[in-house]
Amino acid sequence: MWTWFYKLASPPYVYGVAAALVPWFLGGAALALGYGLIAGLAIAPPDYQQGQAFRMIYVHVPSALLSLTVYTVMAAASAVALIWRIKVGHAVAAAAAPIGASFTILALVTGSLWGRPMWGTYWAWDPRLTSELILLFLYVGVMSLRSAFEDPSRGDRAAALLATVGVVNVPIVHFSVVWWNSLHQGATIVKLGAPSMPGSMLWPLLSMWLGFMLFFAAVLCIRLQGEVLNRERQSTWVREAVKP
């Protein structure tokens, strides 16, 4: 039953799987994002309090969620790579880090654009915003540590350890809303009982979230192919795979 897991340790196999998955992920992402954008921007009613400005939620919330998810994926891949010495794990982590940093920047930018009409300021030292910024710093730390070493495998393992240690920060980011009193609105979707949002607003949001996830998976697969090719450039299968 573990053969699928062992197969994932083989770079040529992972390269093939990633290449085969990309169109599926991209197609799914296009469908989910298409429905989410049309339903969220055109069909959903304006919020009774925030008016049209609430529609920022359809980009802001999925990117903020993804910034955490990608970090978790990166840390899990790093831990797998450290524990079982699977080199593909380092490739996944290296491929995921810039995507996660981009989602974090997107969440910060859309958040500040949303904050201007709602709170009257682009930036507030709200704990959740600050934690998101710290998450960005963690991403930057992991990426610059990886590139700081001349020996790539050493840089990989150092970055993997840092990502595993930094995963402590992910729950702090997520629960900061509960820990500290804040300006930020409380959780809307994930809480016990019914979500405090009508279906016509909620379904597009969930669809956008799914679309962002699939989009991340597609970009991860594309970047992973590049990482694997670059790391295995000395081997014969790469020479055959890229032969015109």
Partner: protein, 226 residues
């Protein structure tokens, strides 16, 4: 000749302390840095004690974090450069024991010294004397935690030529919870309200890092040294 773990720990701590006290200037530099940074704030903001008292916890903690960070760069570096660390790693004691001893000694000469100096800075910033015990306790817990986080960072960057900036980039985001709870404990002590909650959080973070960080720091050193 084989030496037990406790004896080896004592020997290592004594060696580190001996090396530090042979170079008193290096021992004093982080403390002077701490004093200088806290001097900058009254000059930059306002000499009014009432205003400074509001800013004091934050100023004190930021200065403490920065000055501890300053000395962290040398935690493993000098020993790694002249080969001592490799010899220590080969001496038969576990590398974790060596990391624990070196980090503890580092905390004694940086963190504990900073705690002892903090009343001077506290007085200058207008913190009432009643708040000193909680301020010192929170600084003690915070600097110990920071030494451990720093040991991970120093272990990861020990082989790098310009690891100093990278070390700050790695350690400071991890140290943010310390700043939040440390400053809030000090703030509550100044205003005379109950600081127990923030102190418990600091103590929890301290225990958490003391138990897990030695292994992370050892792994970091193994990665960069081998």
């Amino acid at each position: 000749m084989s030496v037990g773990a406790v004896a080896a720990f004592n020997l290592l701590v004594r060696r580190e302390l001996c090396l530090s006290f042979r170079r008193p200037d290096q021992l004093l530099q982080p403390l002077v840095f701490f004093l200088i940074v806290t001097t900058l704030f009254p000059l930059g903001l306002s000499p009014q004690l009432s205003l400074l008292r509001d800013m004091a916890p934050g100023v004190l903690w930021v200065a403490a974090l920065l000055s501890s960070l300053l000395s962290l760069d040398g935690l493993f570096k000098s020993d790694a450069d002249d080969g001592t660390l490799e010899q220590l790693a080969l001496c038969g004691q576990g590398l974790t024991l060596i990391v624990v001893a070196k980090t503890f000694a580092h905390w004694l000469v940086s963190g504990a010294a900073l705690v002892l100096v903090s009343p001077v800075v506290g007085t200058a910033l207008g913190i009432p004397v009643d708040a000193f015990p909680i301020m010192m306790l929170s600084l003690g817990l915070g600097t110990l935690t920071l030494s451990w986080l720093g040991a991970i960072g120093a272990g990861l960057t020990v082989g790098l030529k310009r690891g100093n900036v990278l070390l700050s980039l790695i350690v400071l985001p991890l140290a943010m919870p310390l700043l939040i709870f440390g400053a809030s404990a000090t703030d509550r002590a100044i205003s005379g309200t109950n600081a127990a909650g923030a102190l418990y959080f600091l103590a929890a973070l301290c225990v958490f890092t003391c138990t897990l960080a030695p292994f992370a720091a050892t792994t970091a050193l193994r990665i960069t040294l081998e």
